[in-house]
């Protein structure tokens, strides 16, 4: 019970500290504006009137997933390492709070703090589309698209952004993360072996394809690791989401001993 309360305490304060960071909001705003203005003819802004709201909001969620997680990964990269940098690691180690509770709270708080601006971006898009298309169902589909396309990817990115800098450094992680993001999510698998279009893509390609009823980006496209590229559909959408959430667990499980090793070396 005490561990649950301490996890909740860390979650609350981690969220509070992170949500107040100006860089989080500036990053979100800049990337959202850039994506909105540079979307091509196939972007959701250009879908004809009468397009089902499900497709419109799935398109917006996928569009935002192209770059927003990069920004969030950058912002979250120092959340576990900064306690030591700020001179708080010794104090935190002296408290009767387990490292597991600390890591879980940092994860949940970090995830919540990036989910809020991401959700606000989608709701803003839904509001703009509602003004244009006069269909209030867009808001409901914004919530669905957020839950299926955006959130699993954020859960995945948050876990790795928190833990990987314990093995490297936050700046090096940021460089590697940008490289991974473009290699594993955007690179055409026809041209180069990559994770693009597989079930492991945190971009939300499989859920977006399922919601839109047609291939959103590369989901299921032929390429490297064929067994990870089943035809998109309801089942594979669930599988893709479950895999992303499962893949978030190993780094979180590794974090407490990594944190201990790091603090003991101080």
């Amino acid at each position: 019970m005490t561990t649950a309360r301490q996890t909740w305490a860390v979650t609350r304060y981690e969220f509070r500290m992170q949500i107040r960071k100006r860089s989080l909001w500036i990053t979100t705003a800049v990337l959202a504006v850039v994506l909105t203005l540079t979307q091509g003819d196939r972007g959701p802004r250009h879908l004809p009137l009468g397009t089902p709201p499900r497709e419109v909001m799935a398109g917006w969620a996928l569009l935002m997933s192209i770059l927003l997680p990069i920004g969030f990964g950058m912002v979250l990269a120092d959340r576990l390492t900064r306690d030591r940098r700020l001179g708080l690691a010794s104090l935190l180690e002296s408290l009767p709070t387990g490292r597991g509770a600390l890591v879980a709270g940092k994860y949940l708080g970090g995830l919540a703090s990036t989910a809020v601006p991401a959700a606000l971006v989608l709701l803003t898009a839904a509001a703009a589309e509602t003004a244009h298309r006069h269909d209030p169902a867009l808001f409901a589909w914004a919530v669905v698209a957020f839950a299926l396309i955006t959130l699993p990817g954020l859960a995945f990115v948050t876990a790795f952004a928190l833990v990987c800098p314990l093995l490297t450094t936050a700046p090096l992680f940021r460089v590697l993360f940008v490289g991974y993001w473009f290699w594993g999510n955007m690179l055409n698998p026809d041209l180069f072996p990559s994770l693009t279009g597989t079930l492991l893509t945190p971009l939300g390609d499989y859920p977006a394809t399922w919601l839109m009823g047609e291939r959103a980006l590369y989901a299921g496209a032929d390429g490297w690791l064929e067994f990870l590229r089943p035809q998109p559909g309801g089942t594979t959408t669930v599988l893709a989401i479950a895999l992303l959430l499962l893949l978030s667990l190993p780094p979180l499980a590794l974090a407490p001993p990594l944190l201990r090793r790091r603090n003991l070396s101080a």
Binding site: Y13, M17, K21, S94, L95, P96
Partner: protein
């Protein structure tokens, strides 16, 4: 809450920070003196449960710190102010204390807030309660640090170099505060500033090279320098053959006070030693001094 340490060793690779240290701290305000690198901070970190010992036993209030249950039992009754404690810059003092209070397991919201209010009042930060910590001065940060250490009314308070870097007025204020909280609990004050211990502690231990080289009343340290403390007025460079403790320039020349086992100069006269000179004599026992 008494502390019993026997044969404590802590190594970092090939570096030995604590080398078979023995120490018994009965309670009340207790000083821990030593030069930089003597092993004080490592000892503080072991006592706070941050570092496990490499060897030896550490019992605090009867709990064995080398076991998980013992460590947790101690940490529930511990207040720790680490050396160079940082703070979250985006939180206010009240928020930071609330966060630490929650992590200490103070779940009753009303009681926790009441205690935070009392502690902020005690450390003189009531007026700055809502301000972000990023704007706090060094002294104010140290006061937030001691407030967080006192959350939960701990039986053992471990403070590591709390006055280093503070201006004289803030230092006096801070050590008075430390002395005032010692009633009914054990306060272990680690410092390299002799005067802080002289003004606040009856008993102290002195560490050198990972061991305790003195353990007893502060006044006894002075005796170590009796008969070997000298004053000399000279015009040139400081005399060789002793440790110069002070040099004050006056109209008739420079007044040197130094610790030396033999008269360092025919003009040198023996004087009554101070605590600082006793400390120097202790640290240089067996060497040239």
């Amino acid at each position: 809450m008494d502390i019993q340490i026997t044969g404590l060793r802590r190594t970092f690779g090939k570096v030995t920070a604590l080398d078979g240290l023995d120490l018994a701290v009965p309670g009340g305000m207790y000083g821990l003196l030593g030069t930089n690198g003597a092993g004080k901070t490592t000892l503080m970190r072991v006592l706070a449960g941050v570092l496990p010992p490499t060897a030896g036993t550490v019992r605090v209030g009867g709990h064995d710190l080398t076991t998980r249950t013992g460590r947790l039992a101690v940490q529930r009754r511990l207040g720790y102010l680490p050396q160079d404690l940082g703070l979250y810059p985006d939180l206010s003092a009240q928020e930071f204390l609330d966060y630490v209070g929650l992590l200490k397991g103070l779940d009753d919201t009303a009681a926790r807030r009441r205690q935070i209010g009392e502690l902020l009042d005690m450390v003189g930060l009531t007026d700055a309660v809502g301000r972000k910590l990023r704007g706090f001065s060094g002294g104010m940060r140290r006061r937030v640090g001691i407030a967080q250490a006192l959350l939960g009314d701990p039986a053992l308070v471990v403070v590591d170099e709390p006055t280093a870097g503070l201006d004289p007025e803030e230092r006096i204020r801070f050590r008075t505060l430390l002395a005032s909280i010692a009633a009914g609990r054990t306060v272990l004050l680690s410092t390299h500033i002799v005067e802080d211990v002289a003004q606040t502690c009856r008993d102290t231990a002195v560490m050198a090279r990972g061991r305790v080289v003195f353990n007893g009343p502060v006044a006894d340290i002075v005796q170590r320098a009796e008969g070997i403390t000298w004053e000399l007025v000279g015009q040139g460079p400081p005399p060789a053959g002793g440790v110069v403790v002070s040099a004050v320039s006056r109209s008739d020349g420079t007044h040197y006070r130094l610790v030396s086992p033999t008269r360092p100069d025919p003009r040198a006269v023996p004087v009554q030693p101070s605590l600082e000179e006793g400390y120097v004599a202790l640290m240089h026992a067996g060497t040239s001094a």
